[in-house]
Structure formats: structure tokens, C-alpha cells
Amino acid sequence: MSWTPEIEQLERLRRLRKRMGGAESIARQHAQGRLTVRERVDLLVDADSFQETSTSAGAAKWDDEGRLESFRPMAYVTGQANIDGRPVILEGGDFTIRGGSADSGTPYPRVEVAWLAGELRVPFIRLLDGAGGSVRNYDPEARRAGGDPTMPPGHAAADEGPLVDVQPTGTPGSFDLPKRHDFSAVAPTVEDHLATRMAKGNLLAQVPVVAAVLGSVAGLPAVHVGDCHFSIMTKTAETFVGGPPMVSQALGLTVTKQQLGDWTVQAKTSGVVHNVAESEADAFAQIKRFLSYLPSNVWQLPPWAEPQDDPNRRDENLISAIPKRRTAAYEVRKIIEAVVDQGSMFEISSLYGRAMVTMLARIDGFPVAVLANDCRRDGGAMTPAACIKTERFVDLADTFHLPIVYFADVPGFMVGPESEAAGIIRFANRASAAVREASVPYISIVTRRMYGVASVVAKADGMSVKYAWPSAESGSLVAQGGVMAAYRREIEAAPDPVARRLEIEDRFQRMASVLRQPGLARPLEIIDPRDTRPAIVDYLRKSHAVNATRLGPKLRVGMRP
């Protein structure tokens, strides 16, 4: 007597599971230009590092003799792996199994790995492809008849015997919640939702969490797109909480999946998704790049790498980077490029809230979070979207102990009806609060304008420091806007009101220069722009020791405005 038959049974389940939704479903997935979940995992992780978990998970049916009658694999693949030699935990939706529908198997393997990522303190990656629940889960008749006819059927494997769909549990006609440890459970219990929420709630404070949208992602998986530190989608993918049929039913609107949630909606307009990938391979490359700047968890420092670049490099172009003409715009990415380690820039969320550039980079080998106003976009003003982007990015940096380097050129918070209607006042407060709460090394370089309350993004407390270039200017508001408001009567009474206005504006403009008065900028020092890199390197080296004493989760008390 041995356990050989049981092991053989298990091996059989595993073989079935590896077949995913069967050859036909896989062909359909490929025809759409999409990879299968197992191909995705292979592309993402280090060769031979994937250790799949719950390899026999799925909905199985056994006959009276205890023999396997049917098996439909769980529509998710879960496991542990390495990326660039560092351990991660991941899950991937399998669209070839009933469209990745959440019901196809038990939820436990997914809850378990999310939990484990937190406990083992390693990054957690979600490769999303699939819908949330289906109402067919509630319909025992449909399930008895072989599942959702709109979804690909389970694979037929001649050598594994006939396969039929699993029978439902519970009473026909009732919306039954299966028992927790029923192997053929089809919907998570209340406790599972709680466990998932607790694990996730902790996860964002503990380990990097990444979500990739690689197909049509709706329902709960769509919620996961927003529940992470970094999200990415391909141009052929889309995500939404409810798809076109639901929108049609609820709102009477006819929309396509693309109109609801393709990259132009989610990465440009809504900002829910950070980055766009040209291909799935590009998405995985960007995920690896993102993780390369972060520690595996908040108890570690970000990974320092031997710099190839000279810490004292002085880029000559910086002396003329800011045009002398105040209204002339410039490309701020060129300034960042001249300062950070060569080849180390990785922009996050480049299509959303574009008045603020957010980037991960390295300086002297230290991973840093770079913020920079882009004066080419909305005049560099903090729009509601730019505020939301700033808040999230500062939180990311603070959570993972990344020093923040801010290139400031901000005329203020965005004015106008559109900005007010979008709630600029609240989002301005929230961005300011995030900066105030941050306790990482924080260095601001005031390159040009620093006006109004928006200047708080150049943090002025804790161990933060501020340097200014000679082109810096500051005040409570830009002279061009403020003079007309404050001197209206005098201007209107003048023989030549326009000349009078320009004259007053010019007077205030000269006063706003950092060379005349420190104003709001109050820099530690006014520096030659070419000395920016050495100055930041010096600060990063000195503040590093303090940063290293502040490891662990960041406590956030109370509520943001």
C-alpha cells in the first residue's frame, strides 16, 4: 500500500491544468495578438525560476468511486519566481478558461499568494486578463447544462478521459454561497473578501504591487488595476468596472470596449493606468524596470547600484537651459537628463497630469523619485490631474524610502472654470499634505518660477533642502496676474492704462528675482546650474544615513484633506 494512486491522480489534475482552456481557446487568444498566461509568466520572470503554486486548483467532480469525472482548471495561475534575481510572487488571469471569469475555481490560491507576498515581503505582480464574476455563477441550470455558452468550453483531452463541466453546489434556484473548503466552490465567501481586503490593505504599505492590463479586464480585476503602485496596459487592452452590455443596460448608452477603457481613456484621461506598452514584451520590460528602482519591501533601502557616471559631472548645457525670455518654454526632461545618472530615467504616467513630470531615476547610484514641472503643459501650473499625480508619486517615494528630487518651475495652482469644477482646491490640499507627510530626503531645485501655495511642493520642513538657480523668481502670485487685481483703480485712471500696467508689472517682476530677495524660495544657496548634480549627490550621500534609520512602513495618521 502506498500513496501512488493519489499522486497519479494529482499528476493528472496538473496535466489537465497546464492545458489551460484547450487548443481552440489558446488559438483564439493568439489570434487576438495576445499571449497565454503561461507564456506571459515565462516572458516576465527569470528563466527556470517559476514555482507554480496550487498546480491542481480548479473545479473537479468525482464519481461515487472517488474517481475524477471532470475538471476545469482555475482561471488563474499563481506562483513564486525571480525577476532579475530577486524573488516576487505573481498571479495571472487565464482568459482561455471561461474568459478568465472569477468563478472558475476557488479564490483561495489567489488570496493565499497575495497574503504570502506580504508575509514574505516580496513584490506582488498581477497579470490581469479577464472579467469579474458572471451571473451564470448563480444559475445552476446553466451550469448543469455545461457552463456559460458564451465562454470557451473546457478542454477535451482524449487521453485524460471525457471532461464535463462541474455540477453546482447548493439548492437549484438559490443564490448559494458555497462552504469555505468545498473544493468546487464557485464564489468567495464573506471571510475571503475580508481576508483579501486585509492582505491588500497591508500590501500597498509593505511591498511593491504591480498590475498589468493585458486583455479585457472588468469587475474585481479592474478594481485591482487601481490597487497598486504601478499599472501598465497594452494598446490593445482595455479595462472598466462594467463592460458595454452593463453600460447599455444601466445608462442606455451604446459604447465600445475601447471607448470605455482603452489606453487613451485610462492612461491619458483618467490616469488610472500609469504607463502604456507597445507590446506585452514591452509591458514586462517596463515592470522589471519599475521594480529595479524599488526595494523588495519597505523594511529595506532602495537598491543602490555602482554608478557608471561621474558624481561631479557638470553639464555645460545647464547654464543656458532656462531661456532668458520669461515666456519661453523649455523641455524640462533635458534638464533632468543632464543631472541624473546617464540612461537611468524611467518616466511614470507621462500622458496624464502632464504639467508635472514624474520619473524614477538614479543619481550617484541611489534610486530617486524625480518631480519636475513642465512649463510646456498648462504653463506648468498644478492642474487637478497634476496634483493627483504628485500626491500618488510622493506617496510612492515616501513608502519605499526613495529620496525626492524636485525641479520647481510653477506659476501656481491652475485657475479657471475647468480647474475649479474638477475640484482643484481639494486636490491642491491633498498634494500639499502628501509632501508635508513625506519623511524621505527631499531636495528642490528652483529653476524658475515658484509662486503661490503651489510652492509647498518644494518641501520646506524636516531634512529637506532647497537650492535656487539665478533664474529663480518667487512670490505669492505671478506679477502678471496680481498687478491687475491689486492696482486696478490706479491702472484704469492712468492716461495709458496698458503702459501703466506693464510698468507696474515690470517693477514687481524685477523684485521677484531670487537675486533681489529670497521671497518664498528661501534657498539654502543660489547655485550655478552646472553645479546641480554635485549638489544633489552631496545631499543624497549625507541624508542617506538618516533615511536608513527610517525603514519600515510609514504611519499615516488621520485623513488627507
Binding site: 525670455r325 515666456t327 519661453a328 518654454a329 512649463c375 510646456r376 503643459r377 498648462d378 504653463g379 506648468g380 501650473a381 502678471q480
Partner: protein
């Protein structure tokens, strides 16, 4: 190759004319948005085949500004 506007703006000043040879980074035109003058550089060297806008015109994001023949 089409050089497109990266943003909604007004065409403030056109710096080149059809037929002109340009080097990479040469300023093709200046756009104005939110009181800022935004130079539009040539993405690479080439000859200006045509200019699709006029000074004072409003342009939308992704609208074609200049067509270049690459050299």
C-alpha cells in the same frame, strides 16, 4: 514625416518655409499655450515639404503642423 502638435495651442510664429533644409532640433515654429511660448523642434534633419497651419491658428493635440522629408 509628420510633425504633430503635442498640445492644444495657438500657432504664434512659423520659423521655416516650404522647401527649407532643417537640421535636427532646429525650431520649426513657436506655439503659444497658457502664455508660454513653446518651440517645436525638428525631430530629425530633413527638408520641409509643407506647412499645415498658419500663424494665429488654433491647433489641437496631435494635429499635423509640418510635413518633413527626411534626408
Amino acid at each position: 514625416m509628420e510633425v504633430k502638435s503635442e498640445m492644444k495651442a495657438i500657432v504664434s510664429k512659423i520659423e521655416v518655409s516650404a522647401g527649407a533644409q532643417v537640421a535636427a532640433d532646429d525650431v520649426l515654429m513657436i506655439l503659444e499655450s497658457m502664455k508660454m511660448e513653446i518651440p517645436v523642434p525638428a525631430p530629425m534633419a530633413g527638408r520641409v515639404r509643407s506647412i499645415a497651419v498658419t500663424e494665429g491658428a488654433s491647433v489641437e493635440e496631435d494635429e499635423v503642423l509640418v510635413v518633413l522629408d527626411l534626408s
